[in-house]
């Protein structure tokens, strides 16, 4: 393996891992605050890609159309997330939530097929990010570097929201003692809907941000379900920093696994899961 190959693979692994991180962020937030297991979370990622594509298509030619589409797609998926949360409200047990949200994976996939058909859609990389930079003779795609930056920024913004704002304090308080927060006059249903919406927004935005690196098609959610849950579980359910570390580990193991034995790249990921869970069953930064 040459240094060029190593560096390119490292960047590629970090990119893939941080896309997983963006999707896992929303899931970690929802689980951490509301203790809801939402198997359909990657479907929100897929919805974000589809909504975003068609918004971008309508805005094509306008300045900043891609960036506007990311925000609008995120908002559209946030609305879808809030609707999903409404249906999830009566379900307290994780098994009920798993079954219910599993059904929603198929419902969302069929709705996407119905509205947008089964073809592949592609989104060009936005102007300014569609080329590459050469560092020491090594070609690095600009968009990959952008994804690394924006996903870390998203994580930082969510962390700031939760730790430095009044809303964040309320959300954290609700994690520890819902009854107390309710007694203080804060309407928990609205709070949880907002949290779910924020989680869905992040997933939807991630869907469109990742789209220029591949294709938008039905089935892109199924590809994400296992890796995203792996990231959340080995990071520690509800932990942002844990999700970040886990996603980078998963991304790099997968990327370098392809170099070693492409057919086993997924399997290497699960070896890592087993090892981490044996050493720390609660996840890397999960609470015991």
């Amino acid at each position: 393996m040459t240094f060029v190959t190593f560096l390119n693979q490292f960047i590629s692994g970090a990119t893939y891992g941080l896309v997983l991180f963006m999707v896992a962020l929303g899931l970690a937030l929802i689980f951490g605050v509301m203790s809801i297991v939402n198997l359909a979370h990657p479907s929100l990622y897929m919805l974000g890609a589809f909504f975003g594509y068609f918004i971008w298509f309508s805005l094509k030619g306008y300045y900043l159309s891609f960036w506007l589409s990311v925000i609008l797609a995120g908002l559209a998926v946030a609305c879808a997330g809030i609707i999903l949360e409404f249906f999830l409200r009566p379900l307290r047990e994780h098994t009920e939530q798993i079954l219910f949200t599993y059904a929603f994976i198929y419902i969302i996939a069929d709705l996407v097929k119905m509205f947008w058909g089964g073809r592949y859609y592609t989104l060009p990389r936005p102007p300014g990010l569609d080329g590459s930079v050469t560092v020491g003779g090594i070609i690095l795609p600009t968009y990959n570097l952008f994804i690394i930056g924006v996903s870390l920024l998203m994580g930082a913004l969510l962390w700031l929201l939760l730790s430095k704002t009044k809303l964040g304090k309320i959300i954290r308080a609700a994690v520890f003692d819902r009854e107390m927060v309710a007694m203080l006059g804060i309407r928990l249903p609205w709070l949880f809907a907002l949290v779910f919406g924020i989680g869905a927004f992040v997933a939807g935005a991630a869907g469109l941000l990742a789209a220029p690196m591949g294709s938008i098609a039905v089935g892109m959610d199924a590809e994400m379900i296992v890796p995203v849950f792996v990231v959340c579980i080995i990071g520690g359910m509800g932990s942002f920093s844990g999700a970040l570390i886990a996603s980078l580990i998963i991304g790099e193991v997968y990327a370098f696994g392809i170099l070693v034995l492409p057919q086993m790249a997924m399997a290497f990921m699960f070896v890592v899961v087993v090892v981490i869970l044996i050493i720390r069953p609660q996840g890397i930064l999960g609470r015991s």
Binding site: N8, Y16, Y120, T122, S132, I139, G214, G219, P262, Q263
Partner: protein, 412 residues
């Protein structure tokens, strides 16, 4: 709680049974004068896009057949079943269509493995199975029989056509291949390598790359290919895989560094649109926009009007499969399997791709493989062959004697 008397229960059961039997004659009457044709295709799973196009091609064919008076004066009813890439489901649907629905034809599915299993069912029940997709050569070779008809190019012909295409580039001295790591990908490279080495013994194949089907990250393959500095890259990636590869390879300038010869399957080309790389050449089974026959023009118009999008290769070949069945039924003056087979042995038919002839011994048609430079056409919004060169795949077909020997060996 009310207890139900045995008499009441018996009366209910008899009543339900009577209802079933009473409605039977009406059902039969409603279906009298209807010919049922079956399409089994893989609408669930990775082949969904191709399967959907295949089903749509079938629907356009059935519309056309019914508009022209049906088959032997009988209206045609299309029955579509989803085999979901599963052999057991394909077999189950085949049996249901044949035994329960009494279909006279089955077309499909996408998966060669499922098609092999369905072929055995059709052989037993003497129902015609027309392959409109292409795929494994086993279907017409050692597992072939009178009721299986290979209308589309099998894998061997497809890869032979690609080999002819790659051999055109006289300045090429080195090349690499990249194909999805499963049966079809392996067969394509195997079928390509032998004839290509005969045509161009001067070209060295530096490496074969085998990403897994559905790979998301092509970076290691892209950087490895560029590092090898080949003159030509032969790619058999398709669908989302080819789109992902192109999008990830473009920033590395791969398409400027070497000639690329790729599987120009419609769904990925339509998906890529303007983003398809310039200067590539491709190969395909039935590139509708590039085949300039009057019948193709009519078909594209009808397809677009009904489906609202361009037809793909699968749409064309499945449409042809149903039209071939109609032709055969009219020739035989019968929709009965044995009569149809007898009438169609060695027959020449008109299809969207022009005139095709079925070989007497194994029902293999002389479908060409198409190659050509891929050029973006604003009229279509994606790249098309310009021009599309039809490559005769007959040279690669096994002789009838070889086919019979393979079948004899397989029976032992």
């Amino acid at each position: 709680m009310e207890r139900y008397s045995k008499g009441k229960v018996l009366a209910c059961v008899v009543g339900i049974l009577a209802l079933c039997f009473i409605t039977l004659p009406f059902t039969s009457a409603a279906n009298a004068g209807t010919v049922k044709l079956g399409l089994i295709t893989d609408l669930t799973g990775a082949a969904f896009v191709t399967a959907r196009d295949s089903a749509d091609g079938a629907r356009v064919a059935v519309d056309r057949i019914n508009a022209e008076g049906g088959i032997l004066g009988n209206k045609v009813e299309l029955l579509v079943r989803d085999s979901a890439l599963k052999t057991d489901m394909g077999v189950s649907h085949a049996r249901e269509l044949i035994l329960d629905k009494k279909v006279n034809l089955i077309v499909g599915p996408i998966s060669s493995g499922v098609r092999l299993a369905i072929s055995d069912v059709c052989r037993v029940f003497k129902v015609v199975l027309i392959d409109g997709i292409g795929g494994s050569v086993s279907l017409h070779r050692e597992r072939g029989h009178d009721y299986f008809w290979q209308l589309s190019v099998p894998t061997s012909g497809e890869s032979y056509g690609a080999a002819v295409g790659c051999s055109i580039f006289k300045e090429v001295e080195t090349m690499v291949t990249i194909a999805p790591d499963y049966v079809w990908g392996r067969q394509e490279i195997e079928g390509f390598t032998a004839p290509f080495k005969e045509m161009r013994p001067d070209v060295k194949i530096l490496e074969n790359y085998w990403p897994k089907l559905g790979e998301k990250d092509y970076t290691p393959y892209i950087t490895a290919i560029i590092a090898k500095k080949p003159d030509l890259m032969y790619s058999v990636l398709y669908g989302g895989d080819w789109i992902n590869f192109v999008k990830q390879a473009k920033p590395y300038g791969l398409f400027e560094k070497m000639q690329v010869f790729c599987f120009a399957e419609a769904s990925s080309q339509i998906g890529l649109g303007k983003e398809a790389p310039e200067g590539t050449w491709g190969f395909g089974r039935a590139p509708a926009p590039s085949i300039r026959t009057p019948q193709m023009k009519t078909f594209i118009k009808a397809y677009k009007e009904k489906m609202g999008r361009w037809p793909s290769d699968a749409s064309v070949t499945t449409y042809d499969a149903f039209m071939v069945f109609k032709y055969g039924a009219e020739k035989a003056k019968s929709i009965d399997g044995p009569a149809w087979v007898k009438a169609m042995k060695g027959a020449t038919v008109e299809t969207l791709r022009g005139t095709l002839t079925f070989r007497q011994c194994d029902n293999l048609s002389n479908s060409p493989e198409y190659i050509g430079p891929l050029v973006y056409e604003p009229e279509y919004g994606f790249v098309v062959f310009k021009p599309a060169l039809a490559i005769d795949t007959a040279p690669i077909a096994l002789s009838c004697e070889e086919i019979m020997q393979l079948r004899k060996k397989a029976k032992k």
